[in-house]
């Protein structure tokens, strides 16, 4: 899939935004400003952006507990996201969801999910809606290597195939389910599992934006044209712990530093587009500067935001009761 210059700049901006957002949340969490659990997506940006560059407003995604990157890639408002993570009234969910349940249904983002494996059955439903109402839309479930072991995920594979749904499963295998290695916990292979359900699947370098972009393009085409579900297995890496505060003693010595130096998806994107003469380094530098200012502004606004009023405790449980 060929992207024009504007699209390449948009993709870079999205990846940079995710990175800057997550780096800043890491800092703010360490400083004590953010309550609760936070799971960061830094290092995995190519996956969310590579997939979502193929989607439009008809399409739905379901995310995982590590959901900020998927939110940004699907177009959620960054200021409202930051406010949500700070628990503010101005947040994307009015401060009632937080990092783990951040969502914007208007953008087709059906939520980060506090339950591992929670998303795939929901995405079968979103795909069923698209099929029944003939919207032309597709639905994408992002799943971690941990989530890939849940029964719900495999039930969703089976159902998506039996109902021939426009569904796409993106297994983001960052090597660790919490502290347990995927090369120990995942029996067989992700591709073998997909094959077992008769679902076309590809394995890609999950830190190569262009590889993911192409794999997702094929999967989206298949889904839109009535060809049913697909699976993409991307091997990638997270730079921070399972959650913020995870000492990551289970990782190898110097592992994350090596990954950052040698495999970083944003660095690789930059190299590729500048070496090919598609974009200038200065254009990308300008984006870095703009994004840094945007995130700074988002944090300032979030901190200055209002706490939800006490009355909000009791609202939004039912449409009517």
């Amino acid at each position: 899939m060929q992207l024009n210059r504007e699209q390449l700049l948009a993709a870079y901006r999205m990846m940079r935004t995710i990175r800057a957002f997550e780096d800043r949340v890491h800092t703010e969490f360490s400083a004590g400003g953010i309550p609760g659990f936070v799971h960061l997506y830094a290092g995995e940006e190519a996956s969310a952006v590579g997939v979502c560059m193929n989607l439009d407003e008809r399409d739905k995604i379901a995310s995982t507990h590590r959901g900020h990157g998927h939110c940004i890639a699907k177009g959620c408002d960054v200021d409202a996201m930051m406010a949500e993570i700070f628990g503010r009234a101005e947040g994307l969910c009015g401060g009632k969801g937080g990092s783990m349940h951040i969502a914007d249904l208007d953008k087709g983002m059906m939520g980060a999910n506090g339950i591992v494996g929670g998303g795939p059955p929901l995405i079968c439903g979103a795909a069923l809606t698209a099929k029944t109402l003939k919207t032309g839309g597709v639905a994408v479930a992002f799943v971690g290597d941990g989530g890939s072991n849940q029964g719900t995920t495999m039930e969703a594979y089976n159902l998506a195939k039996a109902w021939n749904l426009p569904a796409i499963f993106v297994v983001e295998d960052n090597g660790y389910a919490e502290s347990t290695a995927s090369n120990w916990s995942v029996s067989g292979t992700q591709l073998g599992r997909a094959a077992g359900f008769g679902i076309p699947a590809v394995q890609v370098d999950g830190e190569d934006f262009f590889a993911i972009l192409d794999a997702a393009h094929d999967a989206v085409e298949r889904a839109r044209s009535g060809g049913g579900p697909s699976l993409i297995h991307g091997r990638l890496n997270r730079y921070y712990g399972h959650f913020e505060g995870d000492a990551q003693t289970y990782r190898g010595n110097g592992e994350v530093d090596r990954l950052r130096e040698q495999k970083d998806p944003i660095m690789r994107f930059r190299q590729r587009v500048t070496e090919a003469g598609l974009l200038e380094g200065s254009q990308l530098d300008a984006i870095d500067t703009a994004v840094a200012a945007q995130i700074e502004n988002a944090v300032m606004k979030a901190k200055a935001g209002a706490m939800p009023p006490p009355a909000a405790l009791l609202t939004d449980v039912y449409v009517s009761y």
Binding site: L122, L159, D316
Partner: protein, 334 residues
């Protein structure tokens, strides 16, 4: 108006709502049946024939047979509801909730709150419940107290064919997730059921009879049992009010409290296991808000705290009977 069975009333409600609104779809295990098989299509219409005939009218695009994959298809129904359809999912026996509970209580029930009021999840999960079918421990439970406990869910428990049609149409038109409990021993009960569609609002109890001596609250099949007991007591000049709350979430506590203010005596009949059931819930509320009106301790008529047994001799002893309701009324009026 014709006599229709509880089964026919539900089938009619589904058909009428599907004709009215193309977004209404039905899914579940064998809701049509026979898919991919060499024999008859629409072979089952659900295990007890409740949805028979819907697939020939609405087609397989709207009547979706599922693999036996409750977590998968209940989750799909919820995801479809959150994105624009109005699915009615049939979970064959409520006992199977054990394998799909996450999708119901962590996803459907919480979307609206977690997402700051922006989600609308109009899903109905129909499910069979209750003892008496000789179906033993894993196909006979009540379990509605568990769902009543979860904010974000609504719970409807029809007690007759008339109630079933009106409550189900309400459930399908409702914008919140509804768990709809169908007692499997009521399917062949008949009642006057209007041909045209009608709704029964949630959270409004029905007084099936009024009497000044004792208030009896009962749910589902137990409404029948309570009325049987009240008939016998009437012959002995004890006048009972029998209240069917119809829905346990929302729950019409006001009607129950008003009645207890008048009678001063309360018996609650609940087929659910006794701990943390609706009888306990209603009793606690009445004890808190109408204590001064009470002339005798509240009595709860429930099964013992054991699983539902298989042998008919044991199962019949398990299920609350009219005789036990009469005994409880005698105790509070003594």
């Amino acid at each position: 108006m014709a006599k229709k069975s509880f089964r026919q009333a539900i089938n009619e409600a589904l058909a009428q709502e599907m004709r009215r609104d193309p977004r209404v779809i039905l899914m579940g295990e064998d809701v049509a049946g026979g898919q991919g098989a060499p024999g008859e299509d629409d072979a089952w219409g659900g295990p007890l024939g409740v949805t028979k005939g819907l697939m020939p009218e609405f087609g397989r695009e709207r009547i979706l047979d599922t693999p036996i994959t409750e977590s998968g298809f209940i989750g799909a129904a919820i995801g479809a509801a959150a994105t624009g359809l109005r699915p009615v999912a049939e979970l064959m026996f409520v006992d199977f909730m054990g394998v799909c509970f996450d999708q119901i209580f962590n996803q459907a029930a919480k979307f609206r709150y977690m997402f700051g009021g922006k989600a609308v999840t109009p899903v109905v999960i129909r499910t069979m419940f209750g003892a008496g079918f000789r179906a033993a421990s894993q196909h006979s439970q009540c379990l509605y107290p568990i769902f009543t406990h979860i904010p974000g869910l609504k719970v409807a428990i029809p007690s007759s064919a008339y109630e079933a049609k009106g409550l189900l149409i309400q459930a399908i038109r409702d914008d919140d997730p509804v768990i709809f409990f169908e007692h499997k021993m009521l399917y062949d009960d008949t009642d006057d059921v209007p041909d045209e569609p009608y709704t029964i609002p949630f959270g409004e109890a029905n007084l099936t009879r009024e009497g000044g001596d004792v208030t009896i609250v009962a749910l589902g099949r137990m409404v029948k049992v309570a009325n049987e007991a009240a008939d016998a007591l009437a012959r002995q000049r004890v006048a009972c009010t029998v209240i069917d709350p119809r829905t346990t979430s929302p729950m019409d506590f006001d009607t129950i409290l008003e009645s207890v203010e008048e009678t001063g005596r309360l018996v609650v009949v609940d087929e659910a296991h006794p701990r943390c059931n609706m009888a306990a819930d209603i009793s606690a509320r009445v004890a808190q808000d109408a204590f001064k009106a009470l002339k005798a301790p509240i009595r709860m008529v429930t099964p013992p705290h054991v699983p539902v047994p298989f042998s008919p001799a044991l199962e019949d002893a398990y299920i609350p009977s009219a005789a036990r309701v009469i005994e409880a009324v005698r105790a509070v009026t003594a």
